[in-house]
């Protein structure tokens, strides 16, 4: 029964990891760029909420919407002003630029918020839970986070496959010069993709800040989890990313069951095992839709 509980908790943790991975997967799919500051951006969103919740006297949910909105605007601007110029100067440059951005963000956060952990509590909701049976209880927060992850990934997936804009995004991902020839300013499309990526990772950061506590250097840990979720799921498949997150989440919670230190190692071992056995991931994107 404790094993079952660990697996169930792992599934819910997987929702959080998938939220981290979604934006990473989207940006990699559309631009072929790995954003090394992705985890730090989530932490920025978390700290923004930490600062704004007491300051704004608004219901927490409104503050979260504001934070996500602000991060989406930042995503568009960062893409157009910082990432885009780096994209145009070679394959290695974007990696260096995003790595640099990661360092800058972490140090700025240290400067402003100190190295102490911070968390947001929105009262009964973050603490409440539903008792399924004597061994298994689900916190409202975990359920809400998994629900958010499914909705966010579903919305991105549907948007990409069913809408006019999604079609253009896929076209740009395929061949950006050919997309220019049908009148698409691909830089604008990259900006929109970055806005969505920043928005989803903001959701991840907010979730994390409620789920546990964050410190200025929490980002890279979750960048790794996100990256592993993307690879396990298969590049370019958003539902695969969710599955990858769930696999990692279960590895964490079952790992903790074996030994409390093993919880941190187990997901990385699972990742290595998947890389060895099935390097293309479990749901690689099919060429046909």
């Amino acid at each position: 029964m404790t094993l079952l509980n660990a697996v169930i908790q792992g599934v819910f943790l997987g929702g959080l990891l998938a939220l981290f991975a979604a934006g990473l997967s989207l940006l990699f799919g559309v631009m072929g760029v790995l954003n090394l500051a992705h985890g730090d951006i989530a932490i920025v969103a978390g700290y923004l909420a930490v600062a704004l919740v007491p300051a704004l006297h608004l219901p927490a949910l409104w503050v979260f919407l504001i934070v996500v909105g602000v991060l989406m605007v930042c995503g568009y601007l960062v893409q157009r002003l910082i990432f885009q110029p780096s994209l145009e100067s070679g394959h290695l440059t974007p990696l260096l630029v995003t790595l640099g951005m990661s360092v800058v963000i972490e140090n700025l956060l240290l400067e402003i918020f100190t190295a102490n952990g911070h968390s947001i509590s929105i009262g009964t909701f973050t603490a409440g839970s539903v008792q399924v049976n004597p061994q298994i209880s689900l916190s409202y927060l975990s359920v809400a986070i998994l629900g958010t992850a499914v909705l966010a990934l579903g919305a991105i997936q549907m948007g990409l496959s069913r809408t006019k804009l999604g079609r253009i995004v896929r076209a740009v991902a395929d061949d950006r010069d050919a997309a220019q020839l049908v009148g698409v300013n691909y830089r604008h499309i990259f900006g929109l993709a970055a806005a969505v990526a920043f928005g989803t990772v903001a959701l991840a950061g907010l979730s994390l800040t409620m789920y546990t506590s964050i410190s200025p250097t929490s980002g890279p840990t979750y960048l790794i989890y996100g990256f592993e979720a993307v690879v396990i799921g298969g590049l370019g498949s958003l539902w695969g990313t969710l599955a990858g997150g769930v696999v990692l989440g279960i590895a964490v919670t079952v790992g903790v069951l074996i030994s409390s230190n093993f919880g941190a190692l187990a997901p990385h071992l699972v990742f290595l095992a998947v890389l060895a056995i099935r390097p293309q991931g479990f749901f690689p994107r099919r060429v046909t839709t």
Partner: protein, 248 residues
């Protein structure tokens, strides 16, 4: 340059395009009359595709001007030129492989001008397409892909359609089929500028040909104004008397 009072839709004035150190197009001028088929011919590496790419906005010229109906478009981005009515069917088709046939065609409507072309008109023109609209574009044959690429370009309702290397890698019967659809395009008021290595094919459809050799114009005029020998000489860059094969 055209020698008559025809209305020019597109003018290129002493255009020079460089790829790094190499000058691919050197001071080329041309005028495309509205409603005509204009063919650029020349051997491999003559600068034809570069010229077309520069007109579409893919390569930046280092000198000269490109004028569309009196408006200087030399400095405009590729998407802006699509909005003004310049559409290129690129070399190698460049379809989006992860999109279906229909999705590929629909991307062409992203910044479409108002005009006659829409999905149902396209499907009238290429009757095989509706039955295969859900297939991946990557599964089509070369000729079918070319038709989809033309359909995609038409969806933008261009004033001038630029077609690069139609014959390259396609079976002659497929090429004839696509050329057979050109009169229907011209009827809709479209102007077509195409790049072609196959001189006979170009001469049969174009009302005007211009031959490039190493980035420079060597011959320009109506296809009937020249003898085969004159065209060969311009194409290979040698006196008409010398054997044609020696220069390739």
């Amino acid at each position: 340059m055209t020698g008559s009072g025809e209305q020019l839709l597109l003018e290129v004035d002493t255009l020079t395009v460089k790829h790094a150190q190499l000058t691919a197009v050197s001071e080329v001028s041309l005028g495309v009359p509205a409603g005509s088929v204009f063919a650029v011919i020349g051997a491999n590496g003559a600068g034809k595709s570069t010229l077309l790419g520069a007109i579409a906005g893919l390569n930046r010229p280092s000198g000269g001007r490109i004028i569309l109906e009196g408006q200087d478009i030399t400095r405009l981005s590729c998407p802006k030129r699509v909005e003004l009515g310049v559409s290129l069917v690129p070399e190698g088709r460049r379809l989006f492989p992860s999109l279906t046939v229909e999705e590929n065609i629909l991307t062409g409507a992203y910044r479409a001008r108002p005009g006659r072309w829409n999905l149902s008109r396209i499907y009238e023109m290429f009757p095989w397409m509706p039955g295969r609209r859900r297939q991946s574009a990557a599964q089509l044959s070369g000729g079918e892909q070319h038709a989809v690429a033309i359909a995609r370009a038409l969806m933008a309702n261009p004033r001038i359609l630029l077609i690069d290397e139609l014959s390259l890698g396609l079976a002659p019967i497929v090429v004839r089929g696509i050329y057979a659809s050109l009169p229907a395009l011209l009827e809709s008021g479209l102007t077509v500028m195409l790049v072609e290595q196959d001189v006979a094919q170009a001469c049969s459809v174009a009302s005007r040909i211009q031959c490039l050799l190493e980035g420079r114009t060597t011959l320009v005029g109506g296809p009937t104004e020249f003898t085969t020998a004159e065209i060969e000489a311009a194409y290979f860059g040698m006196s008409a008397a010398a054997p044609a094969g020696a220069a390739s």
